[in-house]
């Protein structure tokens, strides 16, 4: 009897294009959108669009601009713009940040002279981070691509404030700076040139290098849980539709009871959910290298537990309601709140501490944390026990409640 209800659900689902789109296509589309956004926002990929105006047009400023163009963290607009054009691009969003080397300022090669600082970073306050990143990259370029200019300025500062160079020393410095400048010019690739300041900063990544790009792995779990809930409710509403259509009267006049009806639907929703989540993770694996196959067993355990939780909750909610409209409204509210608090919409790590704590009361968080543990942080398998246990507990408990509530329809 349970199997027959399962087959009836499965066939109806396969014929219902709306349900198919909602369960299979829409989650993939939403996931791709989130993945595309957040893959670009993760550290390795962050590239800032920069508009540049060079009003000084001296050798050192040319070298600075060239160095910035070669910086992989920046996308510098081609050609040189006027200061007004740079400000306009930043204002209209054509560039994330702007850089103006002002004519009416100290020359870049002589920072100890009179006047304002030569380099101005132009930012829109809503993209303040872009300005800070650009400022950092300018300083880096200054010390790595223009070490002769930096040293010359340093020597001038020393000569002015601390020691007095003799003429001989001054001649030697000038000679050395000229040599350094020549060496740099001869080097075909300025990136490869080793300036005296190159040894300052090195980069180190934490985490398992085999794991997927962090935010994509996070969003695969987050989108999966959001749509698991939506699809489960969509399927569970068939209990109420079948009651309105008289199908339940027909079925209950037969030898099976509500237990078989709810059981068959539960089984279908779990299978549907596992299939749906697997589609999302397959895409995450193929498109973004989320290591699905390396952690397949853990993935299946978490996914089955998440699908059981979603199916149980959806059936409990729909059997608690008397009308389809009531169930739909309640489900929309519940899913949106669970998803917002639980981290399906905005990543939990962006949330304040108190909101993250509240999230621990939602199954969305359990699933999202379990997937993050698997594919992002590379947590040991034992760390999955708690979220998986909670998901299974809620799923099976809700199924029990749904069966109890459904008995109201059995004998009136």
């Amino acid at each position: 009897m349970t199997g027959v209800v399962f087959r009836a659900m499965a066939r109806t689902f396969l014929r219902d294009r709306g349900a198919l789109a909602m369960s299979a296509v829409l989650p993939l589309v939403v996931f791709v959108v989130f993945a595309a956004i957040f893959a670009g926002a993760s550290g390795e990929q962050l590239r800032i669009k920069v508009a540049v105006a060079d009003e000084q047009r001296t050798g050192p400023t040319d070298r600075l601009v060239t160095a910035l163009r070669r910086d992989s963290a920046l996308i510098v607009a081609p050609g040189l713009l006027s200061a007004a054009e740079v400000r306009e691009r930043v204002r209209t969003g054509g560039a994330d940040a702007g850089l103006v080397i002002r004519a009416e300022a100290r020359p870049l090669a002589d920072l100890t002279g009179d006047g304002d600082p030569p380099v101005v970073i132009v930012v829109d306050p809503i993209r303040a981070v872009a300005g800070r990143v650009l400022a950092g990259q300018v300083q880096r370029a200054y010390f790595t691509a223009l070490p002769d200019v930096a040293l010359r300025n340093t020597a001038d500062l020393l000569g002015e404030a601390f020691v007095t160079f003799t003429d001989g020393q001054r001649d030697t410095l000038t000679e050395r700076f000229a040599e350094l400048e020549r060496d740099l010019a001869e080097s075909a690739d300025a990136e490869a040139a080793e300036g005296p300041f190159d040894g300052l900063v090195a980069r180190e990544s934490v985490g398992d290098p085999t794991l997927g790009r962090s935010h994509v792995a996070y969003y695969a779990g987050a989108v999966a849980m959001l749509f698991l809930l939506f699809s489960a409710v969509h399927g569970a509403l068939s209990v109420l539709e079948e009651r309105d259509a008289g199908l339940l009267d027909r079925l209950l006049a037969g030898p099976g009871g509500m237990g078989a009806v709810v059981g068959g639907k539960f089984l279908f929703l779990v299978v549907q959910g596992v299939g749906q989540v697997t589609l999302i993770f397959l895409l995450a694996w193929v498109g973004w290298g989320v290591p699905l196959l390396d952690r397949l067993v853990g993935y299946l355990v978490v996914t089955i537990a998440a699908a059981i939780a979603a199916a149980g909750l959806a059936l409990a909610l729909t059997t608690a309601c008397r009308t389809r409209r009531q169930a739909q409204t309640l489900a929309n509210i519940a899913i949106l709140v669970l998803s917002a608090v639980g981290g399906s919409m905005v990543p939990r790590f962006f949330m304040p501490e108190w909101l993250q704590s509240i999230g621990w009361f939602t199954p969305t968080t359990w699933a999202v944390e379990a997937y993050s543990g698997l594919f992002w942080r590379g947590d040991p398998a034992t760390s999955l026990l708690l979220p998986v246990g909670l998901l299974l507990g809620v799923g099976i408990g809700s199924l029990g409640l749904a069966r109890r509530l459904a008995r109201r329809d059995e004998v009136l």
Binding site: M1, V4, V5, R7, A8, R11, T12, R15, D16, D244, A245, G246, L247, D249, R250, L251, L252, A253, G254, P255, G256, E410, V411, L412
Partner: protein
């Protein structure tokens, strides 16, 4: 003869005079029994009770001698055709029949084997692979009926099986129900279509306010309430009757329905109609239109319930 479907002193109160108030019922194999009554009379509650889905205050129900409330075997002997088109709209006719046959208790193989015969019986073999949603109203009604009979139940209960279908479609359903009767199925037909009951039913029970007030074949009931040769007289009055006129109508055995100008009564012979009208006119009753008809179920209902049958 032991009835295959039985209810004994079935009571269930929902408060405020609604529910079932001591229903006794016996339907036999090879019989079509019409359960008549206006909306709210308790037909649906009685159907629920007979399918084992109503908690009873007192009394008992039995299908093939077993209690459908506790015994799945009793429910296997039962088929229900709900008033709604209780089918999976997105599935094909054949898929519906197969799945619903299984849900009624058949094995997968037995259900699959029974589908071609069922399709032929309802004359929809050529639509076997059509989705139910694409069928006409009459075709859906036939599938609705076949889905409840695939497992060849001893008892078939139908709740308003021809609501919203045209006359030819209704006649086809009637033909199918007669087939079932010929096969020995006990059919309980809950309806408020008195014409349907008169055409089809071997016996009818008139249900009013949760009780079966009269029961028998249509001819028996008419004969019991109407002497041979008597006629029903339906009057349409020209104006609302004043007190003396009203008293005269009531004295003459006329009853009034929802429309205060429409009164119905019985005369023992056609020849007395003119005499009646004369008497009424003398008492101040203004009659605009008079219709005389053979007594039938509407008249029986009028006698039994003391009011016009209203759907």
């Amino acid at each position: 003869m032991t009835p295959i479907l039985a209810a004994r002193d079935v009571r269930r109160s929902y408060g405020a005079g609604r529910g079932l108030d001591g229903v006794d019922l016996a339907v036999h194999a090879g019989e079509i029994y019409g359960l008549l009554g206006p909306n709210g009379a308790g037909k649906t509650s009685l159907v629920r009770a007979l399918t084992g889905r109503l908690r009873l205050d007192t009394g008992s129900v039995a299908v093939a001698g077993r209690d459908p409330r506790v015994d799945p075997a009793a429910r296997r002997a039962l088929g229900l055709v709900p008033q709604e088109i209780a089918l999976y709209q997105e599935l094909t006719v054949a898929e519906n029949l197969g799945l619903l046959g299984e849900l009624a208790g058949l094995s997968r193989a037995a259900a699959a084997a029974a589908v071609p015969g069922a399709l032929a019986w309802i004359d929809l073999t050529d639509r076997a692979d059509s989705r139910v949603a694409t069928l006409s109203g009459g075709q859906k009604r036939r599938v609705n009926l076949a889905a409840a009979t695939l497992h060849q139940p001893a008892v078939l209960i139908l709740d308003e099986p021809t609501v919203g279908v045209d006359l030819p479609a209704r006649d086809r359903i009637h033909g199918l129900l007669r087939d079932l009767r010929a096969r020995g199925t006990a059919v309980l037909l809950a309806t408020h279509d008195l014409d349907q009951a008169a055409l089809l039913c071997d016996r009818v029970g008139v249900m009013v306010d949760g009780r079966i007030r009269a029961e028998g074949s249509v001819a028996d009931l008419v004969g019991r309430w109407f002497p041979a040769g008597s006629r029903e007289v339906a009057l349409a009055l020209g104006s609302s009757p004043d007190e003396p006129a009203r008293a005269a109508l009531l004295d003459g055995g006329f009853v009034v329905g929802a429309d205060p100008l429409a009164w119905t009564g019985v005369v023992d012979s056609v020849t007395r109609v003119a005499e009646w009208l004369e008497t009424l006119e003398r008492k101040g009753v203004v009659v605009r239109d008079t219709r005389i008809r053979e007594p039938g179920l509407p008249g029986v209902f009028l006698k039994v319930a003391g009011r016009e049958f209203e759907e």
